[in-house]
Symmetry: C2
Subunit: 330 residues, 2 copies
DNA sequence: CTGAAAGCGCTTACAG
DNA sequence: CTGAAAGCGCTTACAG
């Protein structure tokens, strides 16, 4: 039996006779052979490592995504180096240039601040896949849920629950092309509700503090109270709920709240939070497939592709019902 | 200039004349040289990879810890492979045996279910460091905060706020040697408070659901209401707060609550959660140092060591004051 | 189809 | 101190 045959079996190539294959695998098993990846990667000219770039791993949405990606990457023999940017545009620019302590075979970047111009100026040629709601035309491979459709679904849900004055927390100031804002507007329009500019609340960061601040300011202003809140992330929604509470408003009775991301706390908080749940597993899988496409340009053009994955509206107490009994239950 | 000299500079060894050193570094800079770690590791007989084993990366406490560890490991030229066990004892046993798709140089395991016996049966010789509150005698390198002192601090804080009937949520059933339970008992005793066995509430998992369940059962029972709750994790505390809410009790006015871990949600939730914050950076650093000690047994015995790192009590609204104003503020 | 051999980019023991 | 050379464990092009 040749070395080539053994290699074929181990790497799953070619057609090896069943009996031979079994003998090889049996030998591998008894010896406890485990390929030395350093050697393999050195010989193949690859590092076997892909980088996942996120703002902050501690944020549950990104941690969940990282978990999915690690699992699926391992199954493909890849190893995931996680790198944090802290929402800094310069750090994101550095990341897409592949400035890592390790050589890497590919990059998956959750873009928060990155602009189209940053991509155009990119000099590195490492295969790249972008994640997230920002859009970059056809400059780069990109996976995301359909953020407009998801936002529309969220706001339609509020409208169905009877909300008529729905605030959007996290309307980006400038961006007419913010997909979530567009979904919000579409839902209002489809229901024949008038847009209230006072209820579109821009924030400086997708943080709980910011969500709380702008909702508090709204409630303390002369603007009539909202009866529904659509927040661009669950984290922002938690802040919004906090402001509502502190103002003596009950969720969902006085104002219903919908978030975005379905982080674990959405379930644990009181009242639990209705939210948009992206299909994280699909996100991870598509991103890895896009990386593979770029690494093996078998079959011609590896034109940048934009692809969407499914999402789901998860309905919980913040839009249905909840409340401590007035008298104690027994 | 010899290859050895260059190697010395790059790896920071030995005494190289300043001028030479600068010339080398300048050359490295202009050429943009980056060592190929696959080759280096192959030559050195190491993989350059350490594994971090946690129950679930999506849990914010572990995600935060992983973030710290990744950062500090990168600074030491290590790469972190994250592996999830899902709180499964068999998965933890497999992990300490080093059954990974990669060869690894060391293992850092957050032990949740692992028993002393599992360690005694271990056959692998990969350097190992254990994290977490379980104790394993002197069988293995181990880093943790002083959980007894931390729990005592938390409960003393409740007592200072005037609590007299303090429930402990998460008292492990069997374990007389549970360090957090011991801290709870010590604090009660020091304050001359009588132990109320009815207020020690065992749970099956450190989940919000379990925290909610046992507190709900307590509140619905004939036992007099508690005026303070010490939960073994923030996550459990969130569940406990939920049960209190649903029962019409206000936090902290009717019952104050203290958690453990200082996950990000502890700040975001309403009311925000008083909790014990372990020094994660120190945890990561000590764990890595212990791994290095085992890898470079320079200076003799690498006897297993148990080491503690600092913690802090972070006081927030759940033990001080909070409440929506009765009439709206203006 | 088979096997011996070169080469991936480093580190390090060794002869000069 | 210096430099040439071997070797880490794989993959793969190449001659048989």
């Amino acid at each position: 039996m040749s070395m080539k045959t053994v290699s074929n079996v181990i790497n799953g190539y070619a057609h090896v006779a069943e009996g031979t294959k079994e003998r090889v695998l049996a030998a591998v098993e008894t010896v406890g052979y485990r390929p030395n990846l350093s050697a393999r990667n050195l010989a193949r000219g690859r590092s076997g490592v892909i980088a996942l770039v996120v703002p902050r791993l501690e944020m549950p949405y990104f941690a969940g995504l990282a978990g999915q990606l690690i699992e699926q990457a391992e199954a493909r023999g890849w190893f995931v180096l996680i790198h944090e940017t802290g929402w800094d545009r310069m750090a994101e620019r550095a990341a897409i240039e592949g400035q890592f302590p390790q050589r890497i075979d590919g990059l998956i970047v959750s873009a928060q601040q990155l602009e189209r111009a940053d991509l155009d100026q990119r000099t590195a040629t490492t295969p790249l896949v972008l994640l997230g709601e920002r859009s970059f035309g056809d400059a780069v491979h990109h996976v995301a849920i359909d953020n407009t459709a998801a936002a529309r679904t969220a706001v339609e849900h509020l409208i169905e629950r009877g909300c008529r004055r729905i605030a959007m927390v996290g309307a980006s100031d400038a961006a007419a092309d913010d997909p979530r804002r567009r979904g919000y507007l579409e839902a209002l329009e489809a229901a024949g509700l008038e847009l209230q500019p006072d209820l579109m609340l821009p924030i400086r960061a997708n943080s709980g503090e910011e969500g709380e601040r702008v909702v508090r300011e709204l409630l303390e202003s002369d603007v009539a109270l909202p009866d529904g809140v659509f927040a661009v992330t669950d984290w922002v929604a938690l802040g919004a709920m906090r402001a509502l509470h502190l103002h003596g408003l009950r969720v969902p009775d006085d104002a219903a709240v919908v978030g975005f991301d379905d982080i674990p706390y959405a379930r644990a908080v009181t009242p639990s939070l209705t939210t948009i749940a992206p299909d994280r597993a699909a996100l991870a899988e598509v991103a890895l497939r896009m990386l593979e496409t770029q690494l093996n340009p078998a079959g011609g053009l590896a034109e940048p592709v934009h692809q969407t994955v499914p999402f789901e509206l998860v309905v919980r107490e913040s839009t249905t019902s909840f409340g401590p009994p007035q008298s104690r239950a027994h």
